[in-house]
């Protein structure tokens, strides 16, 4: 085939040569001299090469020629890329970073929100959002609604899964027995709940595929085994299908209980979130309309609108996913996309520079009859090759970062990380990003290059690929985007630092916190167990003081507080603590006394209040000795025995405005025990010995999470932490790209102005002034970029104000710091190549022309 093609080409060349000769002969006969006759013949004939090309097209058909040229351009492109490895590597890395981070974030978002649930026909699932239902109401609704085939409900609880080596908190759901039927989920092993009455008699659970793999190594023998959840044994009857984590993906569910086995209260309490499968042929609008008429009936008053005035909203499964996290996707998507934009701008700059160097080659191609479209295609193929390499490397980056991600995230966030993987959808996104990137960074330089003025170019060396403004604009945009990211990151860092450093009201910071679950805590004598636990921890080397409480800072409970004689109650946050708490965590006791071991069920009912609460309920008088009613059903008043300092609730609010009170743990007897240990040195170092000691107690006690106070504060500052990291990483990447772009522009300016600089130096200009000249250009670009970026950052900061932790979006420290840092690095990036301007040897520069 190839041989035949060559033969045909040779024949055609021969044929055309003859044509030229005959024409020349004729011209000679008409009286021209030999040379003139030959030129005239060539003029009359036209461009031989392009004609041959068109003949070939006629012969092979357009597609054939197109493919053949494509093959040639590809080979040529690979050669070109290989000939300038430095630029190629830089471009591929830029694109890989841009595409990789997009693929990573998309994978997470897709896994969390975008992908439909792995259930049967998710399109026909509708949820009744917000107000919750009792089991009876659920059944009544089922009876009244015609547009929904099956209604099921569930509510979320957390359970401690006890095990031999570790106890972990697993997110669980209590579900109606038709739950799996309505969703259309199949078991991966064993069976799921059915409407069988046997399910009601004994405690059974279904576990998730992920839990099955993690805790039981995927052993099918788990079916029929007993696991212990919150000290209650339950039999595992089956494993849910792989990937199924409940009717909401976030937070995930790992254990399902049938509603009837979870205790009598479940049927009368308004606990159930309800969803249903639409009857065949019914649209969501019809369900909405029917629900609208049902919930306006007076007997549905309690459910139709809850006490916050929210009405029942019927949403499809898709709408529900979008409500929960879709909006987040719409924000992060474009933000992360900006990094790719910066990467593309960078590659665009690199390509412009490359084509500039190759403008002679391009001009020759044009002169030899290549059409401008053809030249553009040839250049675009190079761009596409770069994009393909970048996309491939980007995918590897994404895969890798998804693997290490769960390890870097704090525990609390990692629990919410769904099952994320690089799949076909991510591959599709990456591919389209690569195509978009090629178009974005390749078209402009290629078009510029193909518009070369050929005759001017070939006659002299002055032809240029467009002027520099386009590169300058690209660099300014890069710097501006990077600056925005970095400035926003700086705002978050400031917010984080302010948050971490602010006065919480705790005098001690070296605290180790262990969430402990004593075995049989509900059966054994509460006070004895507490004393045993405190005694065990007290002997721990390095431990200064120990106490037990419900939480260390902030509150897990809010109770109503009413003064005797008053008819209105007020909701106030509280904590349950054992004696010694205030001394251990460093909250000053300003009046009265601390709790003692005698403040138990046998003792008098007492309470300690915060200074803010004292000011609010007993303004101008001492609260000690006063009585107060606490909790909804409490008939007996409590006596205030002490007043302590104010403690922050981990929000921005001023602690002095937050009423707070403390109940004795021994009177409340809640099961959530937080062992608090004040340590001499780094509290983290004591985590392992503490866990060990608790396990070896007479009543073995499992700990499911041990963290330091500072770790807990970091968790509380998670939005700032994430903002700082997200902005910092993206900004860092964008800035790296921008700096290399800036470097390139300045280096290029030096190269292009070599002759001019040479003349200046030859005419007596100081070499240093040449450097200054070039340096000024780089700094100008960086300066404009920084200014634009800072303005943008203030706008972004204003939009994120609520998460900035008391920092103004125009915080001078954050903005000036980030701006200065960017300017400094930008100056360095321009100075390095600008230095070369001073080294221009006028003789060499002028002779080179």
């Amino acid at each position: 085939m190839l041989f035949r093609k060559d033969k045909l080409d040779a024949e055609m060349a021969e044929e055309m040569r003859l044509h030229l000769e005959l024409q020349a002969e004729r011209n000679r006969a008409a009286g021209m001299d030999a040379a003139e006759a030959r030129y005239a013949a060539q003029r009359q004939f036209g461009n031989v090469a392009s004609m041959q090309e068109r003949c070939r097209e006629q012969r092979a058909g357009r597609l054939g020629v197109w493919l053949e040229q494509l093959g040639r351009d590809l080979r040529q492109g690979v050669r070109q890329l290989a000939s300038t490895p430095g630029t190629t590597v830089l471009a591929v890395l830029s694109l890989a970073v841009g595409i990789g981070i997009n693929a990573t974030i998309f994978s997470v978002m897709d896994g969390a929100f975008l992908r439909p649930l792995p259930i049967h026909d998710p399109e026909t699932i509708v949820k009744f959002e917000r107000p919750r239902f009792t089991f009876q109401e659920l059944q009544q609704l089922q009876a009244e609604m015609n547009s929904v085939g099956g209604l099921a409900g569930s509510w979320r609880i957390n359970r401690l899964l006890q095990g031999q080596d570790r106890t972990e908190l697993v997110p669980a759901r209590v579900v109606t027995s038709n739950y799996f039927e309505v969703l259309g989920v199949a078991p991966a092993a064993g069976r799921l709940f059915g409407s069988r009455s046997a399910d009601l008699a004994e405690p059974i659970v279904v576990i998730s595929h992920a839990l099955w793999q993690r805790r039981f190594g995927g052993d099918p023998g788990v079916v029929g085994e007993t696991i212990v959840l919150n000290e209650r044994p339950a039999t595992v009857v089956g494993v849910a299908a792989k990937g199924f984590v409940g009717e909401d993906r976030l937070p995930t569910t790992e254990v399902w209980f049938p509603a009837q086995t979870s205790g009598g209260g479940a049927t009368t309490r308004r606990d159930f979130s309800v969803f249903g499968r639409m009857a065949p042929g019914v649209s969501a609008a019809q369900v909405r309309a029917e629900a609208g008429t049902i919930f306006t009936r007076p007997e549905w008053g309690a459910v139709g609108a809850n006490r916050f005035g929210e009405r029942v909203r019927v949403v499809t499964e898709r709408e529900s996913r979008m409500d929960h996290g879709g909006r987040l996707t719409y924000i992060t998507g474009p933000v992360v996309g900006l990094v790719l934009v910066v990467a593309c701008a960078n590659v665009s700059c690199l390509l412009l520079g490359r084509y500039e160097e190759r403008r002679r080659e391009i001009a020759v191609r044009l002169a030899l009859g290549a059409s401008r479209g053809r030249v553009m295609r040839y250049l675009l193929i190079e761009a596409a090759l770069l994009a393909a390499l970048g996309a491939a490397l980007g995918l590897v980056l994404a895969w890798w970062s998804l693997r290490i991600l769960p390890g870097i995230l704090p525990v609390t966030l990692a629990m919410f990380t769904p099952d994320v993987q690089v799949d076909l959808r991510v591959l599709g996104l990456t591919l389209s990003l690569a195509v978009a990137a090629t178009l974005a960074f390749g078209v402009m330089p290629a078009w510029r290059a193909s518009q070369l003025d050929v005759s001017a170019m070939l006659k002299s060396d002055v032809g240029h690929l467009g002027r520099t403004p386009s590169r300058n604009v690209l660099v300014i945009a890069q710097v501006a985007i990077a600056m925005t990211f970095l400035a926003v990151a700086a705002l978050f860092v400031r917010g984080f630092l302010t948050g971490a450093a602010r006065d919480l009201g705790l005098g001690e910071r070296n605290l180790l916190l262990a969430y402990a679950v004593p075995e049989g805590a509900t059966r054994r004598d509460f006070d004895t167990l507490l004393d045993e636990l405190r005694g065990a921890v007290a002997g721990l080397p390095g431990a200064q003081a120990t106490t037990v409480a419900n939480s260390v800072i902030g509150s897990r409970r809010t109770l109503s507080v009413r003064l005797p004689g008053a008819d209105k109650a007020e909701l106030v946050a509280c904590n349950q603590v054992d004696h010694g708490f205030f001394r251990v965590v460093g909250v000053p006791l300003t009046q009265g006394r601390d709790f003692t071991a005698q403040d138990n069920r046998a003792g008098g009912r007492v309470v300690i209040v915060s200074a803010a609460m004292a000011r609010r309920f007993w303004p101008g008088e001492s609260p000690v000795g006063q009585t107060v009613f606490i909790g909804r059903d409490e008939l007996l008043p409590r006596e205030v025995v002490g007043v302590v300092g104010d403690v922050s609730d981990l929000t921005e609010r001023d602690p002095a405005t937050l009423p707070f009170f403390y109940l004795p743990l021994r009177q409340e007897r809640t099961g959530d025990w937080l062992v608090i240990v004040r340590t001499q040195g780094d509290p983290g170092a004591l985590a392992a010995p503490l866990r060990d000691r608790l396990r070896r107690m007479e009543t073995p006690t499992a700990t499911f999470m041990i963290e330091t106070l500072n770790g807990q504060l970091r968790t509380a500052l998670m939005p700032q932490w994430i903002g700082a990291w997200f902005g910092g990483v993206l900004g860092g990447l964008a800035f790296l790209l921008a700096v290399s772009g800036l470097y390139g522009v300045v280096a290029y300016a030096v190269a292009r102005r070599t002759r001019e600089l040479g003349i200046r130096i030859a005419l007596g200009a100081e070499p240093r002034s040449a450097t200054r000249l070039v340096l000024r250009q780089g700094l100008m670009l960086a300066g404009i970029g920084v200014a634009c970026g800072l303005l943008l950052a203030v706008a972004v900061g204003a939009a994120l104000r609520s998460t900035l932790y008391g920092i103004s979006p125009a915080d001078p420290w954050a903005l000036a710091g980030a701006g200065l840092a960017v300017l400094t690095v930008a100056a360095l990036a321009s100075w390095l190549p600008a230095r070369r301007a001073a080294k221009v040897d006028p003789m060499v520069a002028l002779r080179a022309e």
Partner: protein, 110 residues
Amino acid sequence: MTKEKSELLQGTLDMLILKALQLEPMHGFGLSLRLRQMSAEVFQVEMGSLYPALCRLEKQGWIEGDWGVTESNRKARYYALTKAGRKQLEEERTQWELLSRTINQMLNAT
């Protein structure tokens, strides 16, 4: 290019080549002279159109190229009309006549 010389109507070049080859096989240069002569110097055949047209016609199987020798003893590629080519020429001629008659009628209509 003077005013009298005119571009060939799109699509008519193929038909004219076939017509020119009806009498005898010819090489490319001869064909270009012949076409000009046939049109009494009115049509200017661009070489950039002629050679691709020859390739096209050969691929269709209407003409056939073969190497021969010119009067001045040079090797040249001669194109001859094939059987299919003759049929094609007749077809195109009939169509052209129909077309030109119709257009003439339309132009002369009062």
